[in-house]
Symmetry: C2
Subunit: 408 residues, 2 copies
DNA sequence: CAAATTTGTCAAGTTTCTTTACAAATGTCT
DNA sequence: AGACATTTGTAAAGAAACTTGACAAATTTG
């Protein structure tokens, strides 16, 4: 036994091209042993064993209990090592930074959040991120992977870590990665927050094990993420999934983008709130009007909650939105043929009438075989899903990150 | 020098994991030498050289002229060897089998076609395929890769080589691969003909070098193929791309599928022909009516040709179809953010007013940045593109196929 | 024409993976 | 219970693949 565990001179070499394959075999399947991995990847037991022991030394894998099945000596069950490495992810949403710390399996170990002025300027946004990351990472429960994953609003250049534009906030060219590098000396992997949420749901949530997944995030705006065989579809300029502005009706009302009949004007949180406010303005009764004059403007979430509680006006607004969403989802199902459609976002996660209407309308406008293939479900990771998505980006690179920490 | 070139005892071993990478480096780039490949893949010149000589022995690569650039000894320019190996692809379309023989670069060396009864039963269809393949492959101009690539109508199970269903023909579970295996003893790679066409355009046609491509095939029906980073998107049950039945207007006319307002009822060849016929029935004048009573029903292609020639009625029909196509393309661009949209199929390839209208309407219904990224162009491979797509499937596996022929 | 540079190949050396062998741990059959 | 078959994990020896270092060949530059 070594007296200096792990970090000593006899540290593993990490030269095999099969290391990543072995790791992902353990990650994506359950109940693998050294021998079963060897069979799976077409390697000898010796090689599999050697790689596994390297990964154990790196604290990426652990041996669990014995695998009793069939005859012969039982194998050692392998699993991701959740004891040591930690990933930190962040997401900005509604004027608030959310931070999560996860283990290698994406389990949330710790959360924190930091309020900044809603609709703030990019500088406030960036300062909040750096401050939050600095404080949050100081209290890590394990060894940190040396990169932060960040989910941001707007059109994101993932390669350069820049928010190219966030139209609803009026931002342009916000260089997030560069800022954090300067402020904290740490690397940032940036992604659009809804794409990050889709990634997280695909890896750890409602889309686990699904090969063709569509995530639809419904909040103030609407956008989607396409996960095909474990990979996120970015598109040419990172705007794949921006379904908020698909044209639903060429005769429809004018949208903020200048076009008519965008999905956004029918089904976003913004649209739901506006519609409810307009109906109340016309004198329609609703529980939403209780308490007289409001200080803050009505939100889509509030309307959805009221609808779930049975408010007639709210129900009407939500169901109309859900019907349009259902039609959009139908066309996405027809176009993509996914195995699963995951509905998320602040609006999508509310346990109300939205999902049933959406599902019924999606069925109405799709071919039966495509609809049956596509299970439509709510997201399973809750509110901080976007931050988990950031952590996912870090976890996807854990191998190279660990290698670089260990100073290969 | 060996007296038995290629096939003798000293045949190459094909064990390196870099063989495929070297081959695709030469394939997808131009002007590579042994040394430049070594740099590209991070290999030593020795290894690169060894692999290249193996590939030359296998007749997959050839040395061309010298590469004079910069100082130093010029490298040997490498290229795919077009002298030996041949791929055969087939496509069924409008009651006709088309066969193509290509070299490793997808160049068409020979074509043939075989008419079978239009709207024939599956048996006639299969007999025609086996007969055609048998005769066509007998006259090969080189050594055949031992597999045929076949583009077929309908929903195709690529793994098992079965047409699961072709609704417009009324077929179900047509086991193409099994039939050809029995009849000719040869393996078949089956694909939907429009997906095959998309594959071919991405590899050898208008989508060369494009990372995010959408192919839209417009014939009697409409369907699409999505090529993301060189890979075709199949979807969960191989129906990704079946955009003929996306809902364009919930108030629209009833479609054959039972729903309302499908793209198919507005913009397919079937729809264009029906619309033109209806207008003429109402007494509208058109060059299409010349020659009195017709024996065959009017086709969408005829209307498009008449529109290109300036016929007013035809122009109206084509432009209305193109406008709906443009709207559909707009939503696809918004959703996918492609670099290029390739318009193909019997209708899409006709050099008439369709493309301009489609492009204008697509621009009208997309965000500027997404539209600008997506160049909309006609297919570059002509009518037999589906058959070339079949050949593509074979070429994509050339390495393993050649290895198996050489009896590794 | 010499010097510098780059290519392609050979021989020798290193690393990685496999083969062969064996102890250890289990189920099965008698 | 005990012999036997089966499977796992590891170690030592061997094979295969890739790299290093060296060198002739082919070019540009000065």
């Amino acid at each position: 036994m070594s007296t200096h565990p792990g970090n000593d001179a006899a540290s593993p070499s990490l030269e095999s091209e099969y290391i990543a394959e072995v790791l992902s075999a353990v990650e994506n399947r359950a109940g693998e042993s050294r021998a079963s991995i060897a069979r799976l990847l077409g390697l000898s037991r010796t090689t599999s064993s050697k790689i596994v022991s390297q990964l154990i030394d790196l604290k990426l894998l652990v041996e669990k209990n014995l695998l009793r099945e069939g005859r012969g000596r039982p194998g050692m069950l392998l699993d991701l090592d959740t004891s040591t490495w930690r990933a930190i992810g962040a997401e900005y949403h509604s004027g608030r930074w959310t931070f999560v710390e996860t283990d290698l399996k994406g389990n949330i170990l710790r959360t924190s959040s930091l309020k900044v002025a809603r609709g703030a300027d990019p500088d406030t946004f960036l300062d909040g991120l750096a401050k939050g990351l600095g404080e949050f990472s100081a209290n890590a429960t394990g060894e940190l992977l040396p990169t932060f994953g960040v989910g941001a609003p707007g059109l994101v250049d993932c390669d350069r870590g820049v928010i190219l534009r966030a139209d609803d906030l009026g931002w342009k060219n916000v260089r997030v990665a560069e800022f954090v590098k300067k402020k904290l000396g740490a690397k940032v992997l940036l992604i659009n927050r809804n794409r990050g949420a889709g990634l997280a749901e695909a890896r750890f949530g409602a889309g686990r094990g699904v090969h063709q997944m569509v995530y639809i995030g419904i909040g103030t705006g609407i956008s989607a993420a396409f996960m095909i065989d474990g990979k996120l579809v970015h598109g040419s300029l990172y705007s794949a999934g921006e379904i908020g502005h698909i044209a639903m009706d060429t005769q429809g009302p004018v949208c903020g983008c200048g076009k008519r009949g965008c999905l956004h004007v029918y089904a976003s949180g913004w649209a739901i709130a506006r519609r409810a406010a307009a109906l109340m303005e016309q004198g329609r009764e609703s529980s939403l009007a209780a308490g007289g004059k409001r200080s803050e403007p009505l939100t889509g979430e509030e309307v959805c909650v009221a609808a779930a509680a049975g408010d007639g006006l709210a129900l009407e607004c939500v169901q109309d939105a859900a019907a349009k969403l259902g039609l959009a989802v139908a066309n996405i199902i027809t176009t993509f043929n996914p195995d699963k459609v995951v509905i998320g976002g602040p609006i999508g996660l509310i346990n109300g009438p939205l999902l049933d209407t959406l599902r019924a309308e999606a069925e109405r406008w799709t071919m039966p075989h495509a609809f049956q293939a596509a299970k439509i479900e709510r997201g399973a990771l809750g509110e901080s899903v976007g931050a988990i998505g950031g952590a996912c980006l870090v976890l996807d690179r854990k191998l190279s990150l660990v290698a670089s920490v260990r100073g290969r």
